[in-house]
């Protein structure tokens, strides 16, 4: 893939995201689109977005795959790994060779290695002086990200931040906090809805999420809304 094509694709991505932000949008849908496009344009093996809850603990809000080992790997990185490091220092953390990761990140390293990842990058979600989370990018086959890739990743992370907090709430920190909590709460409902579908259809969580997304897409509804309806037993599928 040549440089120009990637740049063109990035332009498309930002245009799409900008369009989304102008309209009424659902934050979960936006973040899901963001991690998916992040993975495809930057050609990373997996991407995940983590947000800090009230207690400052990072939680996976969107991920390119709902496969539980991947989600767990991201959570490990949020306990002791590049993700928490990026969150704390509000800067990009690059680990192009996972084997060179710090000794205290051994649990994360083992999990990432098991998933076949060879490198990981964490990009902070910043809002002025505070950091609200981090974007994680996982690479395989010893590929690495260049300076331009990381700038693009940071720009995508910034779009995510804006999307989560809404421009109009930036002035009031309480409102921003509430917005953040709402995003995390919708994740609770989505997990419950995944459980309902996984049980009813007897499929893995990963597939349950796809069912949820598919239903949301074909009915042009936000994922979070469909999840809420499932949990309230207002709909069954």
């Amino acid at each position: 893939m040549n440089e120009l094509t990637r740049d063109e694709r990035l332009v498309d991505v930002f245009a799409t995201l900008a369009d989304t932000l102008i309209d009424d949008y659902d934050v979960v849908d936006l973040l899901q689109t963001l991690v998916d496009t992040c993975a495809s344009t930057l050609e990373v093996a997996a991407a995940g977005l983590l947000l800090a809850d009230d207690g400052g603990e990072l939680e996976v809000l969107a991920s390119t795959s709902e496969e539980s080992r991947l989600v767990e790997t991201m959570q490990l990185g949020a306990e002791a790994g590049p993700c928490i490091e990026s969150f704390r220092t509000a800067s990009v953390v690059s680990v192009p060779d996972i084997e060179q990761a710090r000794p205290e990140w051994h649990e994360f390293r083992a999990a990432a290695r098991e998933q076949g990842f060879t490198g990981v990058y964490a990009v902070p979600l910043r809002l002025r002086e505070t950091t609200i989370g981090a974007l994680n990018l996982f690479l395989d086959e010893h590929r690495s990200l260049g300076e331009r890739d990381l700038r693009a990743a940071q720009a995508l992370a910034d779009v995510a931040t804006i999307g989560i907090l809404h421009e109009r709430t930036l002035r009031a920190s309480d409102a921003a906090r509430a917005q953040l909590q709402q995003a995390l709460n919708s994740r609770v409902t989505i997990e419950q809805a995944k459980g309902i579908l996984a049980y009813t259809h007897d499929v893995p969580m990963e597939e349950a999420f796809e069912l949820l997304r598919h239903h949301a897409r074909s009915n042009q509804l936000p994922i979070a809304l469909v999840a809420r309806q499932l949990v309230d037993r207002a709909i069954i599928f």
Partner: protein, 236 residues
């Protein structure tokens, strides 16, 4: 808002463990007294609250005798209505009957306290004179009993020494698993997310395990609330 709606609303909104659960019930249902108890292995057998001495006594007698309307209501998972207790108790529960023969009780109505498959205890309502409870008040008592069940379980877990919400359960990845398992329980029993969560918590509490462990059992389909956990229903 009529008396029943007010009582249901008052009961639902109670948050403090000091609030009297029987008071709103007595305002809504035309009986003399009420007693709430936990029964069986799950939370142990004891009176949670009684509106008067006789209500408390009625519960104790049933505990000691190991038989009585409250035990039957819980076993049957259905109300046990005795509009004329003195006339029928000797036949059904001889040990209980001997112990309460001297008491001034006309009618006794026992309602099970249940949350999904969990058997929590019973709500006993009594009157001095024999009295039919009627379909409407029976239905209303069942609704109030279901609200009481949640309070009783929550309070029991709050006051317990054992830690029900472990640090492990609060980790993000555990929470995710617990939420997914909550979805399993919603699908299995068709109950609200709040009840499903409470059920997982109750199960963890009952088995002295973490919620995450219960959740993992549910997701691996080693545990299901759909299957009756014992054969009492089948036996009837």
């Amino acid at each position: 808002m009529d008396g029943f709606a007010a009582a249901a609303s008052a009961l639902s909104q109670m948050e403090s463990a000091d609030d009297e659960l029987t008071a709103p019930i007595l305002e809504a249902i035309p009986v003399t007294g009420a007693a709430i108890s936990t029964l069986g292995d799950f939370l142990g057998t004891q009176t949670v609250e009684a509106s008067d001495q006789l209500a408390a006594r009625l519960d104790e007698v049933q505990f000691d005798a190991g038989e009585g309307p409250c035990w039957d209501a819980l076993a049957l998972r259905a109300p046990v209505l005795q509009p004329d207790l003195q006339a029928t108790m000797q036949r059904h529960w001889p040990a209980f009957a001997d112990a309460v023969a001297a008491q001034e009780i006309g009618a006794l109505f026992a309602f099970p306290l249940l949350i999904g498959p969990l058997r929590i205890g019973a709500l006993d309502l009594y009157t001095v004179q024999p009295m039919e409870l009627g379909t409407r008040d029976t239905k209303r008592s069942e609704v109030l009993a279901s609200i009481v069940s949640r309070h009783v379980l929550r309070r029991a877990m709050q006051t317990a020494d054992s830690v029900i919400d472990t640090a492990e359960d609060r980790a993000p990845n555990s929470r995710r698993i617990i939420h997914q398992a909550t979805g399993f329980v919603i699908a299995q029993l068709g109950i609200s997310a709040e009840d499903a969560h409470l059920l997982i918590q109750g199960q963890a509490f009952a088995q002295s395990r973490s919620m995450r462990e219960i959740a993992e059992d549910l997701l691996a389909r080693r545990l299901s609330f759909e299957r009756a956990d014992n054969a009492i229903e089948d036996a009837r």
